[in-house]
Amino acid sequence: MAAPLEGGALRPHKELVKTVQLEGQVLLKIIQHCSEALPQLVTGQLLGLDVGQQLEVTDCFAFPAAVAEDDVEAESAGANYQLEMMRCLREVNVDNNTVGWYQSANMGTFQTLELIETFINYHENIKKCICIIYDPQRSSRGNLALKAIRLKESFIELSKEQKLTLKGFREANLSWRDIFVELPVKVRNSNLVQALVADLMPAPTATQADVDRLNMSVAPFLERNIQSLVESVDDIVQEQQKVTMYHKSVARQQQAYAAWLQKRRQENTQRLQDNLEPLPEEDPTLFKPIPEPSMLDNYLVTNQIATYCDQINFAASEAIQKLFMMEGMQKAGL
C-alpha cells in the first residue's frame, strides 16, 4: 500500500512496531549491567527479529564504557567491538540482527539530543529500531522501570527535511507529545526457561522487593524529582528567551534593512541626477537571514518535564495509599 506524501515521492506504508517482546534473559542482563555500572550510565546493543508489528528481542550485549568521543581511535575501537561481538555470536547461532539499543537513565530522563541523533543514525539502516530505557534507581523502590520507545514516523520525516522550526511542526501537525512513542513490553520465556524459573522460585512469599515497595520514605525520591523539575523549568525559560532573542533580532534586522534601503534610494536619485548608474537596491551580503532556532530543544525539555510530572504523581499517589493503609492499621489497633 503506497501513500503519497509531500514532495510527490511514493513511499510504501511500512508496518510500524507496535509491541516489543523481550526474552527473560535480555531483561535480566539489562538489569544486571545497568545496576552494576551505577553511577555511570551505560549502553548496550539489542539483537533480535522483527515479526510484523512485534519486535522480538532475543539477546543483548553491553558496550564498553564510552571513552572521550572526540578520539577517532576510540570510535573505531567501539565499532570493532561491535563487529567482533556480532561475529562471535553468529557462530553460536544467536540472532544477528540489530534491532536497537538500551541505555540506563538517571531519574527517568532520556530525552536528549544525542538520543534523537542516535535514533536517526540507526534509522538510516534499520527501519524498525527501538530504544529500551532502564532506570535503576527507580527500580530500587520495587517497581520495574523499563520502557521501550521509538521515534514517531512523522517526526523522523520532519527532521530529515531539516524543518525543525515552529512553522515546520505546525505544518506537520505535531506537538511535543509526538516525538516519542512508548511501546508496551512483554516478557516471554521458552518452555525450558519457564521450567527453570519455576524451579528457582517455587512459592511467591513476601520477598525483599515487597519490602522495598512498602517502604514509607518517599521524600528523598520526590525531592530529587522536584529538583530536576525545577532545573527543567529553568531550561525551558532559557529556550523561550532564545526564541525571544530571535524575534527581536529579526525585527532589528528588518529595521536596519529598511533604513539602509532608504539611504540607497536617496543615493540612487542623487546618481540619477548625476547621470550615473543606479546602485542595486539589494545587497545580499549585508543582511544575511538569521537562522531560526530549532524547536527541538524546547520540545525535548517539555517531554522531560512531562516525565518528571508523571513520576512525581505516581510516587505521591503511592505515598498517599501507603499512608492511608497505615491509618487503617492504626485504627484497627495493630
Binding site: 534473559q25 531483561l27 567491538y81 524459573v197 522460585m201 505521591a316
Partner: protein, 292 residues
C-alpha cells in the same frame, strides 16, 4: 610433578550462580547446532573468600566425538577480551556444560580451563530435565596421581546455589507472576503477561505481607495452645520484630499522617499545575512567541 589443583582451604568452596547465567545457558541450549547434544561455554565471575560468584557466561563452539574433542579456543579468547572491556573485574572462573552426566572428554576440557584460571569450576546444567527436576551441579576437579604419573581427574561436587540480587528480584518476580497464570498449552511457547499495572502490584505486595503475618500468628497460636513445640530462637526473633513497630500516641500519629498526606498532595498539585501551564502555553502558542 603432577599438576595438582589447589583447592582453597580444603573443600570449602561453594558456588553461587546468578539466574542470568542459567537463562543464557538454557537459551544457548535451545539454539545449539543440530548435530550437537550439548553446549559448553565459559563462566565469568569473581571469587570472594571461598565463594565463587558466577555472574556471566558465553558459549564456546565445540566439536566432540568419541575419540576427541575440539574447542574453538580463538572464539573463547576473543569473547573473553570483549567481555573484559565491559567488565574488567570479572575473570574466568570455570566452564559449564549442559546435559545430565559427566562425559569422558570433560577431563580434557577441564585441563584446558585450568590453564586459564586457578581452580576452574565445572558446572553441569541439566537441560534434559531428568527426574522432572532442573538440577544445577558444580564440580571442581582433583587429579589422582600415583607418584609421578597422572592417572585420572576426579570431579568433586561442591555446593551450588542460585542467588538473586535485590534488583534482579524485581525482574525475576515479574517473570514468575506471568508464569503462574494457568497455561495448559505446554507445547506452545507462551507469552507472559505484560508489565502489570503498578497499583496492582502494591496490593499484591500487601497481600503477601498479610499472608506472612497470618502464618506467623498461626504459628504463635499453635505454640501457645501447646500443639507445636516452641522454638525459642523463633520466639525471640518474633518478639524483636514486633518491638520494632513504633508505638505512637494517637496525636503523634495523626500529625505525622497529616503531614505526609499534605506533602504528597502539594507535590501532586505542583506537578499538575506545571503540566497545565505547559499545555496552555502550547495551545496559545506563547511557548514560541516573544514575551512582549
Amino acid at each position: 610433578m603432577a599438576a595438582t589443583v589447589l583447592l582453597p582451604c580444603g573443600s570449602n568452596v561453594s558456588v553461587k550462580v546468578h539466574p542470568v547465567v542459567l537463562l543464557s545457558i538454557c537459551d544457548a541450549y535451545t539454539r545449539r547446532k543440530e548435530n550437537q547434544d550439548r553446549v559448553i561455554g565459559t563462566l565469568l565471575g569473581v571469587v570472594v573468600d571461598n565463594v565463587i560468584e558466577v555472574k556471566n557466561c558465553y558459549v564456546v563452539p565445540h566439536n566432540e566425538s568419541s575419540e576427541q574433542v575440539m574447542v574453538d579456543v580463538n572464539h573463547h579468547k576473543t569473547m573473553f577480551d570483549l567481555h573484559q572491556k565491559v567488565a574488567p573485574h570479572e575473570s574466568i572462573v570455570g566452564w559449564f556444560a549442559t546435559g545430565s552426566d559427566l562425559y569422558n572428554s570433560d577431563a580434557l576440557i577441564q585441563d584446558f580451563y585450568s590453564k586459564e584460571s586457578l581452580h576452574p569450576v565445572h558446572m553441569v546444567v541439566d537441560t534434559t530435565l531428568k527426574d522432572d527436576k532442573f538440577s544445577v551441579q558444580a564440580y571442581t576437579s582433583r587429579t589422582l596421581a600415583l607418584g609421578d604419573k597422572v592417572l585420572a581427574t576426579e570431579f568433586v561436587e561442591i555446593p551450588c546455589d542460585t542467588i538473586i540480587g535485590d534488583i534482579e528480584r524485581v525482574g525475576a518476580e515479574l517473570m514468575l507472576t506471568g508464569f503462574n497464570d494457568p497455561s495448559p498449552e505446554n507445547k506452545k511457547e507462551t507469552a507472559n503477561k505484560s508489565f502489570s499495572d503498578e497499583a496492582e502490584t502494591l496490593a499484591a505486595s500487601m497481600g503477601r505481607l498479610a499472608d506472612l503475618v497470618a502464618r506467623a500468628s498461626e504459628y504463635v497460636d499453635s505454640v501457645a495452645s501447646g500443639k507445636v513445640g516452641g522454638d525459642p530462637a523463633i520466639g525471640r526473633y518474633l518478639a524483636d520484630t514486633l518491638a520494632l513497630v513504633p508505638h505512637l500516641a494517637k496525636s503523634d500519629f495523626e500529625r505525622l499522617f497529616n503531614e505526609g498526606v499534605q506533602d504528597a498532595m502539594m507535590v501532586t498539585y505542583l506537578s499538575d499545575l506545571l503540566r497545565a501551564h505547559v499545555a496552555l502555553a502550547e495551545r496559545l502558542g506563547t511557548a514560541a512567541l516573544p514575551i512582549m
